[in-house]
C-alpha cells in the first residue's frame, strides 16, 4: 500500500482551526444556554436542527462509520437495509410514536434516567436496579466498540500502532468525560454534526465521481461478483451488490442470517431501547419540536450511515481500479471476458526469482481474485518458467479480510490527506458525542439508579457525585481493556450489535408496554426483562458460534464444539434478538395477564391525559 500516513503542516492547520471553532462555541455555550434542559428551563425552543443533529450525533459514532462501513466493505450493500431501518425505526418510529409518550411520562413521574423511568412507571425499585446493573455492566462493551473504531482509524491515518492510538484515544476520552465535559453543549454538538455531514457528502461525491458516476460505480461492483473471496462465498456471499443467499438448513445460508438478524435487526430495532437515546426525548420541549426534528434527523442519519455503507462496498471497486498492483500465478480463470482470475500471490526475491507469499493464518500460499491487467514470462526460485500476471483486487484483499480497517484504508489511500485529517476530526467528534452520553448513562446508572436506590434499610441515599465519577472511571477502564484485548473479525460492529440486541430484548417490551398499556404489571415487566436478558446471555454464551467460541464456555460444556447447536446448520449464526425479543414479549403479555394490574391512582398519574 502507498504510504500516506504522516502528519503535515496542512493537517496541523486544519486540526487547529477545527479545535479553535469547537472551543469558541463551547465557551459561548458555557456563558449561556448550553444543554437541552437550559432551553426548557428558559421556556425557549431549541432549533429543530440543533435538536435533531445533537440526537443524531449521540446515535452515530465511529462504530457506525468505521465498524459497520467496514462490514459493508466485507458483505456488501445488503447493509443498506440497516440505513433503511435506522431512518424508518430510529427516526420515524422513535420520534413520531415513542418520543412524545416518553417525554410526557418522564415529566409526569419526574424520571431523569431510563432505569428511573421504568422503575417509576412500574413502581419497582427492583426494576430500576435491574436496568441500572445491566447498563453499568454492558454499556462499556458499546463504548469499547466506539473506541476501537476511532483507534483503528487513527492508527491507519497517522501510521501509528493500534495500541498507541488506543492509549491516546482513551486519554482524550478521559479528559473529555471525567472533569465535566459530558455536559451536552448543544452548539458544539451541532457544529461537529455539520462537519460530519460535510465530510460524508464529500466522501460520497468523491467515491461516485472517481468511479465514473452512480450507475457506473454500482455496475462495476456488480460485475465483480466472481471475485468474492472463497470463505465468504461458501457462507452465501453472492457479490457486493447482492443480498446473501437466503435459505435454511445449509452452511451456504449462514451469511444471510448473520447480516439480517445480527447486523440489520439487532441494531435496527435495538435503537428503540437505547437508554441514552430514550432520555433525550425527555429534554424536548414539546411534540412540535419532535415533529420538526424528523426531516433533519432523517437526512442526518441517511448521510451518516448510508454513506459509509455505500463507500465501504464501493471501496472494493475503487481498489480494483486503482489499488496497488499485485503479482502471482493464475490458478483458476474466474471470468475470462472480464480478465478476472484467482491468483496465487507471489513476491520477487532479491535474486529476481518469484516465490509464493505464505498466508500466516493457513500456512498455505496466499490466493486472491485479481482483475488481470498485465502478463509476462518469469522464473520461480526453483528455476521453472511460468506466466506471471499482475492486477488489482478488491479492498477485502488489501486489508487481508480485516473489515474494521476497510474505511480507514480507503480514506488514507484514495482521498487527499487533508481530508483524512478532517474526517478524523469528524470521527473524533462523533465518538466523543456518543461516548459522553454513554459514560453519562453509566455514571447516572451507578449513582442514581444503583447507589441511591440500594440505600440502607430500604431508604434511598443522598446522591453521590463521587460514585458517579468512580463509575465513569471504572467504565472507561473496562472499555479500554476490552478494546485492547479483543481484536477479532469486524469486532466493532459485533460489540455494537450485542449491546443493541441486549437492550432490545431486556428493555423494549417493558418500555413500550409501559408507555402505551395500562394493563402491563410490575411482575410482567420484571419477568420480561429477566427472560430477555437470560435468553440473550444463554444464546451468546452457548449458541451463537462466533461469540460463544470466543468466550470459551461452550467448548467446556460440549467438549470442544463452538455451539450447542453446532450440528444444526444456521442456528449458530442466528442472533439472540430473534429468540430473546419474542420470548420477552410473550412473557410480558402472559405474566401481566395473570397478575394484578397497577393501582388506578398510579395509572392516572402516569397517563393524566387519558384519565
Amino acid at each position: 500500500m502507498p504510504d500516506h500516513a504522516s502528519v503535515g503542516w496542512i493537517d496541523i492547520i486544519v486540526i487547529l482551526a477545527y479545535l479553535s471553532v469547537t472551543a469558541y462555541l463551547g465557551w459561548l455555550g458555557y456563558r449561556g444556554t448550553r444543554s437541552a434542559a437550559d432551553f426548557l428551563v428558559g421556556g425557549r425552543s431549541a432549533h429543530p436542527v440543533i435538536m435533531a443533529v445533537s440526537y443524531g450525533a449521540t446515535f452515530i459514532s465511529t462504530a457506525a462509520i468505521v465498524g459497520f462501513g467496514g462490514v459493508a466493505g466485507l458483505f456488501g450493500m445488503s447493509l443498506l437495509w440497516l440505513t433503511f431501518l435506522n431512518i424508518g425505526v430510529g427516526i420515524l418510529i422513535a420520534f413520531i410514536v415513542l418520543g412524545e409518550p416518553t417525554r410526557r411520562l418522564g415529566h409526569h413521574l419526574g424520571a431523569h434516567t431510563f432505569p428511573e423511568l421504568l422503575g417509576q412507571r412500574y413502581q419497582s425499585r427492583g426494576i430500576q436496579i435491574f436496568a441500572g446493573v445491566l447498563i453499568f455492566l454492558f454499556m462499556p462493551l458499546y463504548a469499547a466498540a466506539v473506541m476501537t473504531g476511532g483507534s483503528v482509524f487513527a492508527a491507519t491515518q497517522f501510521g501509528i500502532d493500534f495500541e498507541v492510538a488506543l492509549l491516546i484515544f482513551a486519554l482524550i476520552t478521559a479528559a473529555y468525560v471525567i472533569p465535566g465535559g459530558i455536559k451536552a453543549v448543544m452548539y458544539t454538538d451541532t457544529f461537529q454534526g455539520f462537519v460530519m455531514v460535510l465530510a460524508m457528502i464529500f466522501l460520497l461525491v468523491f467515491t461516485y465521481s472517481s468511479l465514473g458516476g452512480v450507475t457506473e460505480a454500482h455496475q462495476y461492483l456488480t460485475d465483480m461478483e466472481a471475485m468474492v473471496p472463497a470463505p465468504l462465498a461458501q457462507i452465501g456471499h453472492q457479490g457486493w451488490t447482492e443480498m446473501p443467499a437466503f435459505g435454511w438448513g445449509a452452511p451456504t445460508y449462514d451469511l444471510w442470517w448473520i447480516v439480517v438478524t445480527a447486523i440489520i435487526l439487532g441494531v435496527g430495532i435495538g435503537v428503540l431501547a437505547q437508554p441514552q437515546l430514550a432520555v433525550r426525548f425527555m429534554t424536548v420541549r414539546s411534540r412540535r419540536e419532535l415533529d420538526r426534528a424528523v426531516p433533519i434527523g432523517a437526512i442526518f442519519i441517511m448521510l451518516m450511515t448510508g454513506t459509509p455503507f455505500l463507500v465501504g462496498s464501493l471501496s472494493n471497486a475503487w481498489f480494483a481500479q486503482n489499488g496497488p498492483i499485485l503479482n502471482g500465478k493464475v490458478i483458476q480463470e474466474l471470468d475470462a471476458e472480464k480478465n478476472q482470475a484467482l491468483v496465487e500471490l507471489m513476491q520477487q526475491t532479491d535474486s529476481g526469482a518469484w516465490t509464493a507469499i505464505i498466508n500466516p493464518k493457513t500456512q498455505a500460499p496466499a490466493t486472491a481474485a485479481l482483475i488481470v491487467s498485465e502478463r509476462q514470462e518469469a522464473e520461480e526460485a526453483s528455476g521453472t518458467r511460468f506466466e506471471l500476471v499482475g492486477g488489482r483486487s478488491s479492498a477485502v484483499t488489501y486489508v487481508k479480510g480485516d473489515a474494521d480497517t476497510i474505511i480507514p484504508t480507503f480514506i488514507s489511500t484514495a482521498l487527499p490527506h487533508w481530508f483524512g485529517a478532517i474526517f478524523f476530526l469528524a470521527l473524533l467528534a462523533a465518538a466523543m458525542s456518543t461516548m459522553s452520553s454513554q459514560f453519562h448513562t453509566i455514571g447516572t446508572a451507578a449513582g442514581r439508579d444503583l447507589y441511591e436506590r440500594i440505600g440502607t434499610k430500604g431508604q434511598p441515599r443522598e446522591p453521590s457525585l463521587l460514585v458517579m465519577r468512580l463509575a465513569i472511571v471504572v467504565g472507561l477502564l473496562i472499555a479500554v481493556t476490552i478494546s485492547y484485548t479483543v481484536r477479532q473479525e469486524y469486532i466493532v460492529a459485533r460489540f455494537t450489535a450485542i449491546f443493541f440486541g441486549l437492550c432490545a430484548a431486556a428493555f423494549l417490551p417493558a418500555y413500550i408496554g409501559g408507555l402505551f398499556s395500562r394493563r402491563v404489571t410490575k411482575a410482567g415487566a420484571l419477568a420480561s426483562m429477566t427472560v430477555g436478558l437470560v435468553v440473550s446471555l444463554f444464546w451468546l454464551l452457548l449458541v451463537k458460534a462466533k461469540e460463544a467460541s470466543a468466550i470459551g464456555l461452550v467448548q467446556l460444556v460440549t467438549g470442544g464444539k463452538t455451539s450447542l447447536l453446532a450440528d444444526y446448520p444456521n442456528w449458530p449464526s442466528v442472533d439472540p434478538i430473534v429468540v430473546a425479543l419474542p420470548a420477552a414479549l410473550l412473557t410480558l403479555i402472559l405474566v401481566s395477564a395473570f397478575t394484578r394490574p397497577p393501582a388506578a391512582e398510579h395509572l392516572d398519574r402516569c397517563f393524566p391525559e387519558t384519565r
Binding site: I87, H112, E242, T283, R288, P295, G297, A298
Partner: protein
C-alpha cells in the same frame, strides 16, 4: 436499474431515499400541527435535570 441487479438491494437503496422524502414531507405537514406549550411540570422537570447536570 442504477447498476443494481438485485431487487432487494435496489429496494433498500430507493427505500432510503423514499423514507428521507417522507420524513421531509412529515416535517413540513406537521410543522405547526402539534401544541407547543411548556407546563409548570415540564419546567420543574428541567430545573431538576439542570441541577443534576450542573452538579455532575
Amino acid at each position: 436499474m442504477l447498476g443494481l441487479d438485485d431487487p432487494f438491494v435496489l429496494t433498500a437503496y430507493l427505500g432510503i431515499i423514499a423514507l428521507a422524502v417522507l420524513s421531509i414531507l412529515y416535517g413540513l405537514i406537521r410543522r405547526n400541527a402539534a401544541r407547543d406549550e411548556v407546563t409548570d411540570e415540564d419546567r420543574q422537570w428541567a430545573l431538576e435535570e439542570k441541577k443534576v447536570d450542573d452538579e455532575f
